[in-house]
């Protein structure tokens, strides 16, 4: 990337190069949830979204965390991006405590989630300007940086002044990628970035993720339930199941360990359940939103 957000550039140059990009140890997060079957007035019960999760990521590595809906992937991403507070354990990003040094962490991390999440009446350019200002980018910088980054993600720059509501889902997701990269994160959290995209857009986004890895000094944590995507993009693959991280290793090691040909078979071997037959509970359902 040619343009770095001022808030990140100085910090990135002073990062401890020997520290792991991500170091998660015994990380726990529990929400309270009312059992739907027990009725509206039933007492809420604790539901562990993450249960003693431990792993590390090296700088520049791309790690994919596989898991069904409700397995805890989004909770993990939210914890690492300072949007949730942990109930136990710790997480460090380039040596900085994710729950105590939030101001520093916010300059290092950005994320792309399954929903593009923009002000729909505002244009792509206006939405990107809004996001960039938070990272110290002035109008003189965004004037050139926004068309540049939009070109890089394959978004036609001439459409940058159209309101977001007029753009397709695939186009919106490209703007979401541009938003994350505009702020030059050293840790990029991708939470189902291609879910719901048409096959062509999906391939374009995947191609861009590869490009980011090769050209940009970014560490990538990809959370997905798309096994093919994980296998194609990641150095190592982890399986998060009902809040527990069952393994995290290169895909060849996973297959060798379970003596299987595919990741679907590995999932079955690890959990005793079919990947496709999992429940459809979304992570969000775990949270105490209507408390």
């Amino acid at each position: 990337m040619s343009t770095l957000a001022p808030s990140t550039i100085d910090l990135a140059s002073r990062l401890d190069r020997d520290a792991p990009a991500v170091e998660v140890r015994d990380l726990r997060k529990t929400f309270r949830r009312r059992d739907r079957k027990a009725g509206r007035f039933a007492r809420k019960r604790p539901w562990p979204a993450l249960d003693d999760v431990t792993f590390t990521m090296a700088r520049g590595e791309c790690v994919a965390i596989l898991g069904q809906n409700g397995s805890g992937k989004s909770t993990l991403v939210r914890l690492l991006s300072t949007l949730l507070i942990n109930d136990g354990g710790e997480a460090r990003i380039f040596g900085h405590d994710a729950f105590k040094e939030t101001a520093t962490i916010r300059r290092l991390v950005n994320r792309v989630s399954v929903e593009a999440s923009f002000f729909k009446k505002m244009s792509a350019s206006e939405n990107l300007s809004y996001a960039a200002r938070f990272y110290g980018m002035r109008p003189s910088q965004t004037r050139t940086a926004i068309p540049e980054i939009l070109s890089e993600v394959g978004f036609p720059p001439e459409r940058r002044n159209e309101s977001m509501e007029n753009l397709s889902r695939g186009m919106q997701q490209k703007v979401a990628l541009a938003r994350a990269l505009l702020t030059s994160p050293v840790l990029l959290l991708l939470d189902e970035p291609t879910t719901g995209l048409d096959p062509r857009s999906k391939l374009e986004v995947q191609e861009f993720i590869r490009k980011v890895r090769s050209e940009h000094d970014a560490t990538i944590l990809l959370c997905t339930h798309d096994m093919a995507e994980a296998e194609a993009l990641a150095d190592r693959i982890g399986l998060l199941d009902r809040g527990k991280l069952l393994f995290l290793e290169p895909v060849s090691d996973v297959k060798r360990r379970f003596g299987v040909e595919t990741l679907e078979q590995a999932f079955f071997a690890a959990t005793g359940r079919e990947f496709e037959n999992e429940g459809q509970d979304d992570d969000d359902e775990y949270r105490e939103v209507f408390a």
């Binding site: 001022p6 939210r78 507070i85 002000f119 009446k121 505002m122 938070f134 980018m137 939103v289």
Partner: protein
């Protein structure tokens, strides 16, 4: 440039970003705003016409109409500030951008102050249009008005209003379903005890005590005196506003931090109610 200076500059750019975004949104929702402006003018007319119905001599009718208009204008101004502050969370949650804003390296004070600053600017413009439109429609004369003093007092009061607004902006964080509505309740309560269309002295004593800690009390009293009687900026109105401003902003921020922590602990940042 020192690290501190860089951080200060980045925060100022972020504050500009909040104001800039609100300008974009005002531009995009201009027709909504226009419709809302008409509604506010019509609503204010229904209040100020009461002066006509009172069968008073013309001079007294004009004074009563002006007093009611000042009350309605400040109600509208305060309404905008509270709406913007409460919407800080509610609007972003509705659009789905809230998590991106809350994970950005912008201090919460700058974030909320930026929202408040735009609300004050926008509210002042709307209040001025409202005042002029209704005064022209009803032929209200304000020959003695000291608009400079009235505006200066409103500007001083705005800092307190932002502080109180920050306290109410936390409500949608705690209760995604009902938080925004509770903000309107807070606004209504503040105006009731502050004597929006009547002197504070007509209220029960316990309400008069509450009025003493409401910034709207001093803004209303001072602005009425400036516009009807032409008085300048009165220290008796200014010092309570300064004290409330000094206290309200840090208290508001502390309250917001507690609410934000609660939302992050229980995962309430994202969902709309």
């Amino acid at each position: 440039m020192s690290e501190y200076a860089i951080e200060m500059r980045n925060q100022l750019v972020g504050l500009f970003g909040i104001v800039e975004r609100n300008m974009y949104l005002t531009k995009r929702y201009f027709l909504w705003d226009l419709a809302f402006m008409f509604w506010t003018i019509a609503n204010t007319l229904t209040i100020v016409f009461i002066a006509r119905a009172a069968n008073l001599p013309p001079a007294k009718e004009n004074t009563l109409a002006t007093l009611l208009l000042v009350g309605a204008t400040i109600w509208a101004f305060l309404g905008i500030i509270f709406e913007f502050m409460t919407e800080t969370v509610a609007w972003e949650r509705w659009e789905g951008t809230i998590e991106y804003t809350f994970m950005a390296p912008l201090s919460r004070l700058v974030h909320l102050f930026g929202q408040g600053a735009y609300a004050v600017l926008y509210g002042l413009i709307r209040a001025a249009i409202l005042f002029v439109a209704v005064a022209a429609f009803l032929g209200i004369h304000t020959p003695n008005a000291n608009y400079g003093a009235a505006l200066a007092l409103l500007a001083i009061a705005s800092v307190s209003f932002i502080g109180v607004g920050i306290m109410t902006s936390v409500l949608p964080l705690i209760s995604p379903e009902k938080g925004a509505q509770l903000g309107f309740v807070a606004q209504g309560l503040m105006l009731v005890v502050s004597g929006v269309y009547y002197p504070v002295s007509v209220m029960p004593e316990w309400m008069q005590w509450i009025a003493k800690i409401s910034p709207a009390t001093y803004a209303l009293r001072g602005d009425r005196n400036s516009i009807v009687y032409g008085t300048g900026l009165q220290w008796a109105d200014v010092w309570p506003l300064l004290i409330i401003a000094v206290l309200a902003t840090p208290i508001g921020l502390a309250v917001f931090r507690v609410g934000e922590r609660h939302a992050k602990k229980h995962g309430k940042l994202k969902r709309s109610g």
